[in-house]
């Protein structure tokens, strides 16, 4: 519900392990709401949602430990350094400092690891969000407008991360308005309009290696 209006009434989406699903649709359609719901940040008012085989209404904490959300905000502390922020995320999700430092290397932020979050540029903050997500070693990666604010190298890093995700057993849900870029990564596209999920008739270009993942039982299911 957004105010008095149902945000995703009647939405029905199933995603298999290793898929990279692009969520497209106009502003206010419900893409961010769906991602926040899958992350366990929003409570269901009706219907049911199962993420990674776990009922969100019953065990939201278990779901949160296994997902990572790269959203419009970084979820970081301005007075902590880049390294301190990522290490806090890693340690609070049961991972190690080495995982955090590896994630910083992966997104190209190692050289600014001692800079406070509050002093980072917009693009660096987006990379830090991505590093936070990687440090958690998620099984489900939720990306909300991940290209926004990223320079060319940042976009390359993002593409590498998304392309590598299925090989690591990670499923990706990607909401974006930059459809040309996002379609290069996605194995499937669904369009969300006014809270309704519409499968797109034509599959995006199969450039992503996600299809190699063995078909398994549906892992993400959201019905509201």
């Amino acid at each position: 519900m957004l105010g008095r209006f149902p945000a995703l009434a009647g939405a029905d989406l199933e995603v298999d392990t290793g898929e990279v699903v692009l969520l497209s649709g106009p502003n206010g359609a419900g893409k961010t709401t769906l991602l926040r719901l899958c992350a366990g940040l929003l409570a269901l008012r009706a219907g049911e949602a199962e993420v990674l085989g776990v009922d969100l209404a019953v065990e939201p904490r278990r779901v949160r430990r296994a997902v990572a959300l790269v959203g419009h905000e970084t979820f970081c502390y301005d007075d902590l350094t880049v390294a301190e922020n990522v290490r806090f995320v890693a340690r609070s999700t049961g991972h190690t400092t080495a995982d955090a430092d590896g994630a910083l290397e992966q997104v190209g932020l190692a050289r600014v690891m001692n800079v406070a979050h509050g002093r980072l540029s917009q693009g660096q903050r987006r990379r830090l969000s991505l590093a936070n997500a990687l440090a958690r070693k998620p099984l489900l990666l939720l990306l909300d407008e991940p290209h926004a604010g990223l320079d060319e190298h940042g976009r390359e890093v993002l593409e590498e991360v998304v392309r590598a995700a299925p090989g690591a057993g990670c499923t990706v849900l990607l909401a974006s308005h930059e459809l040309d870029l996002a379609r290069r990564l996605a194995t499937r596209e669904v369009r969300i309009v006014a809270g309704q999920v519409h499968p797109m008739p034509v599959a995006p270009a199969p450039t992503a290696p996600a299809a190699q993942a063995a078909p398994v039982e549906p892992e993400l299911e959201a019905r509201t």
Partner: protein, 224 residues
């Protein structure tokens, strides 16, 4: 052990932020000192009254500083939606509560030492009954930090947070104000035996506040 380790992780994060930003040292502690000084100016003509009222004035200053410390503790969670990051971490609500309350308590101890020194100098107070003073201060501080943290998260997501927290916290900590003032009064008067019932009240309040906070914080964090 995981519970305590997570609490220490959160407390360490909050204290590191305070050490870096110096808000506690440069704003909250001076605020407590200014309150004590204002009372000294207001009652300067009557030194006897000032000495007699010293315990109450000291704890009134601490109580007002608690509001700032709690407000600060939760304002750092609002920037960049760090609160959502905490929720996404999957940390147990009880461990988050203990961590945040412990960080507030450490700041309050620091404040009490400095403001206490100011009271001794400005109000011409002789220190007696050190054991009683220490026991009462520790129990009162834990009670104040725990209660403030519970109400802090309750009001955390609201726009009227700054005005709502004092309205919620001040009435709830009246027993602490009463017990701490009476026990300090008895100790400074040289009758520490009269202080112990009040110290017991403070301990009971602290145990109740910490227990209730540990249980309630998780659901409050979700709802706020």
């Amino acid at each position: 052990m995981t519970f305590l380790r997570d609490a220490l992780l959160v407390a360490g994060k909050d204290l590191r932020i305070e050490r870096r930003s110096r808000v506690a040292l440069q704003q909250i502690v001076p605020f407590g000192g200014i309150v004590v000084m204002l009372f000294a100016f207001a009652l300067d003509s009557d030194r006897t009254l000032l000495r007699q009222a010293a315990p109450g004035l000291f704890w009134a200053a601490v109580l007002l500083a608690v509001l700032l410390a709690v407000g600060r503790s939760f304002s750092i969670e609002e920037a960049n939606r760090a609160r959502d990051g905490l929720r996404l971490s999957g940390l147990d609500g009880g461990s988050i509560f203990l961590g945040k309350a412990a960080a507030v308590a450490v700041e309050l101890f620091l404040l009490e030492v400095i403001v206490g020194a100011a009271v001794v100098v400005l109000y011409d107070v002789s220190i007696r009954g050190v054991v009683v003073l220490l026991c009462a201060a520790v129990a009162a501080t834990l009670g104040l930090a725990a209660t403030g943290t519970v109400y802090g998260v309750l009001a955390g997501g609201l726009r009227a947070r700054e005005t709502l927290v004092p309205l919620l916290v001040l009435p709830a900590v009246m027993p602490v104000m009463l017990g701490a003032t009476r026990s300090f009064q008895a100790a400074l008067d040289g009758t520490p035996g009269d202080a112990w019932p009040w110290v017991q009240l403070l301990i009971a309040f602290a145990v109740l506040a910490v227990t209730a906070g540990t249980v309630a914080f998780g659901p409050l964090l979700e709802e706020a």
